[in-house]
Point group: C2
Chain length 501, copies 2
């Protein structure tokens, strides 16, 4: 309690003494932590629990007390609220969450993330983030080693989409450095190239950076989803004939739907020939670099000018953990993005200010995303990370073999990576002629089964129509918690949920 | 252990059974958590402990074992590593960390952040993030209420800089919708306006979005750091006379160095007259909207088209927590940023897909940053947040009064907000004529004192040269853990560290 006789009042506010009841707060904190471990860590990764407790939006709003009021709630109410939040959230760490390009839970990463949240750093200057800047440097250096560059630069960014934007801006700066100051108005039309199967963020990058979505020339892919080099060559010629200026080729190492890897070496040849920036979006496929068995998927990546690689996906570092790596070693990243704010980046500091990396960034405050990856790498070693990749890909191969064995399952294509795409054909459709009616009916199967599995909470996997094909399932195998039995369960469950359709 | 007789081998990988020793992992997790609470929560916010344990980069590299190796480290080594990471990190939650526009530790937010890290959600579809999407919606709605709009839209983004980029892109899309598809090449030169005192991110936005830094017209400020409306009018006229197309005015509510608030009402008049998008960067000053006493600083903000507001700053929600709010209610945010990826945003889902907000974003995976702010708001109520603002501003006023009383301290200007800017003039300079030599010497005082305080670890506050003024201290008062005594300590300590200079 305040000693009133010493109270210092300014503007009606008492300035000395604290009214916070620290004992009650500690008790709340302790209880909340126990609940987090119980509900959001243990139960959330327990295969016998539900993946999700589905409720439609309007009903969920009623189940949760979302409204923000003038007065605060007591600790007991807050604990109940937190429990509900966890209860109705999707358990992305559950062994049967196969829905996105990330899944699972890594306990080392989680410890690192708790540390980061408690310390609440912002990574822009060595002064404020000495450890996390050095950790980022060490992590980038090691990733660069696996790409196969002798040296390089990089930055952790809030997502693969933003990494791809960085790469687009670097490519533009390299080709037209004046654009930074003068803008694109009056400049020759710039054109970038990426495959039809590339991530939609390239289109977003073109829109956001003022290049325009029409100036993304989408290159055809082969039946495996890989960019066709000859088609790229043709598109570059077309752009030149139109009087536009090609500046960037973005290859994909691990496409979003099919998990396809573009032929990097051949694309690098074309980029070299035309003097184009070669970016590889390995947000999803980059993990394979750590596997001696599977790194050949990215053969030629050392010839890239920049690489996007998200350890939060296959490697399970936690959202978000995304590196943009750059081969250049002449401070291009900084020259391209700097604004030289004097209030933040003083030059008269008592240490080597080259450690102040904030001006490489398009952000100001920036999270210490490298740390969780670094601690996980420390804990597991490269070999542990490699096993994680090998395990996921072996499980995918097992799943493919099972799909081939089972009636009513039809593989879309033999996968190279952890994306297993297939149709489930219910008994009622199995003897039909594959005419328009058949495809229309099949198109409705995956959404229907998805709805049923969500409502049951037994598992989650994605589906989509794609390149003229009707809705098919896309199963992503990542987590090291996943076992062979979960693969079997998945196929059994689809059959169970869909056999009456 | 594996039952070897049942082992299923694919590609040399055993697929059944887990080799993870879950007991050892649980013990590690328990120990790590105890250490985090002890070192990164309790000690890190204890006023009797150091704010930082300064080491220069090369020495710190030697003190930490940063290298990533083939083999993992044992749990004991990992715990020691984590302890070192915490030990050598700056304690931004410490009551004497006054260095940035954020500080302090809120335990409710911290609980929310632990939950988010454990659940590892990505906020793009209702399917995968039902709770966090609804929480974001409720939080944005409440923030919009405080801005004074009847309705609106918004998104949480990874930083105020990115929010400002969103606003710039929205303004451009509103004025020239074709740019999204066609790009800026061939389009009339676009010009945006912001004050000389605005955050450097506006320059970064212009560079990144292809507008060009030269097309940011910086408007003069008055001696309080506020944009001069007549100067804005003049700059708009100049742009028009040059044949360029003005499209955006960015006002600042709470500038980075001085904490100045632009006169929003007058600037809104000018924007209305010229039909320009009116963005208010209230990343720092937005918190004052919650205070009945101080919300007048932002008078007129309801006339903005968009507002950037970072609850991770004054309100202590934890980095990052940044909202971009938009008055438009015709889905502009989505129309401007969408790419319509079919694999992620299926239209044949079993719920109202308007809840799938991912296509408003320039990101793909996105963190659930609204949740920590929401839980904190739930715990403290609007009144608790209001007290936080009132307390910080009262402490700033107290500090100003003390500075005026003390010999050798000279206020740069009377602050409106929590930025207290001042010179410390050591005894040796106090009787000098204020000639060039005086200013040169004074310029070196703040860096020298900063170096000494860092090495001692007693506190941290920032300094910078600014608008022709030599290096002065910028003291930011935020944390609710801060008491009057910490203000007194700060001034005593500066005097102690600098009196021999």
């Amino acid at each position: 309690m305040l000693k009133k006789k010493n109270a210092v009042l300014v503007d009606g506010v008492v300035l000395n003494g604290q009214t916070i009841d620290s004992k009650a707060r500690e008790q709340f904190f302790e209880k909340a932590f126990r609940m987090i471990i119980e509900e959001a860590v243990c139960k959330a990764t327990d295969v016998t629990e539900k993946v999700c407790e589905w409720q439609p939006p309007e009903k969920l709003k009623k189940l949760l007390d979302l409204e923000l009021r003038d007065s605060g709630e007591p600790h007991q109410t807050l604990l109940q609220l937190c429990q509900s939040v966890i209860h109705y959230s999707v358990k992305t760490g559950h062994p049967r969450f196969f829905n996105q390009l990330y899944a699972g839970m890594d306990h080392y990463s989680l410890v690192a993330r708790f540390i980061t949240e408690a310390l609440n750093p912002s990574v822009y200057t060595y002064e404020v983030s000495p450890v996390f800047l050095l950790v980022e440097e060490a992590t980038l250096k090691k990733m660069i080693e696996f790409i196969g560059w002798k040296e390089g630069d990089g930055i952790f960014s809030p997502g693969g989409s933003i990494s791809n934007m960085y790469a687009t801006n670097l490519a533009r700066y390299k080709c037209c450095p004046d654009v930074k100051e003068r803008g694109l108005s009056g400049v020759q039309r710039l054109v970038m190239f990426t495959s039809e199967e590339s991530h939609y963020s390239m289109k977003k990058a073109a829109a956001f950076l003022g290049i325009g979505t029409q100036n993304v020339y989408f290159v055809k892919v082969d039946d495996r989803g890989k960019m066709i080099p000859e088609e790229l060559e043709e598109q570059i010629q077309r752009a030149k004939q139109e009087g536009a200026k090609p500046f960037l080729v973005c290859a994909t190492a691990g496409t979003t739907v099919l998990g396809a890897f573009d032929p990097l070496d051949k694309l690098a040849d074309i980029c070299e020939h035309h003097g184009l920036w070669f970016h590889v979006d390995a947000s999803w496929g980059g993990a394979a670099l750590l596997s001696k068995k599977h790194c050949k998927l990215l053969k030629g990546i050392h010839r890239a000018d920049s690489v996007a690689w998200n350890p939060h996906k296959m490697l399970m570092a936690g959202i978000q953990c995304c590196a943009l790596l750059v081969k250049d070693n002449t401070d291009l990243l900084k020259r391209c993005h700097s604004a030289g704010a004097k209030y933040l980046f003083q030059q008269d500091r008592c240490y080597d200010v080259r450690y102040d990396t904030g001006d490489k960034s398009i952000q100001c405050s920036r999270r210490a995303d490298a740390f969780k990856f670094w601690l996980m790498w420390k804990a597991l070693g490269t070999r542990g990370l490699e096993e994680r990749v090998d395990q996921a890909l072996a499980l995918s191969r097992y799943l493919v073999a099972e799909i081939k064995k089972r009636e009513g399952f039809q593989l879309i294509m033999e996968p190279e990576y952890a994306n297993v795409c297939f149709w489930y054909i219910p008994p009622s459709l199995r003897n039909m002629e594959q005419d328009q009616e058949f495809w229309q009916k099949l198109h409705r199967v995956a959404p229907e089964i998805k709805e049923r599995m969500m409502k049951k909470g037994s598992m989650m996997l994605g589906y989509q129509p794609h390149q003229g094909k009707v809705n098919f399932f896309r199963q992503i195998v990542i987590s090291s918690q996943v076992r062979r039995e979960d693969m079997d369960f998945l196929l059994d469950e689809i059959d169970l949920l869909g056999k009456d359709l």
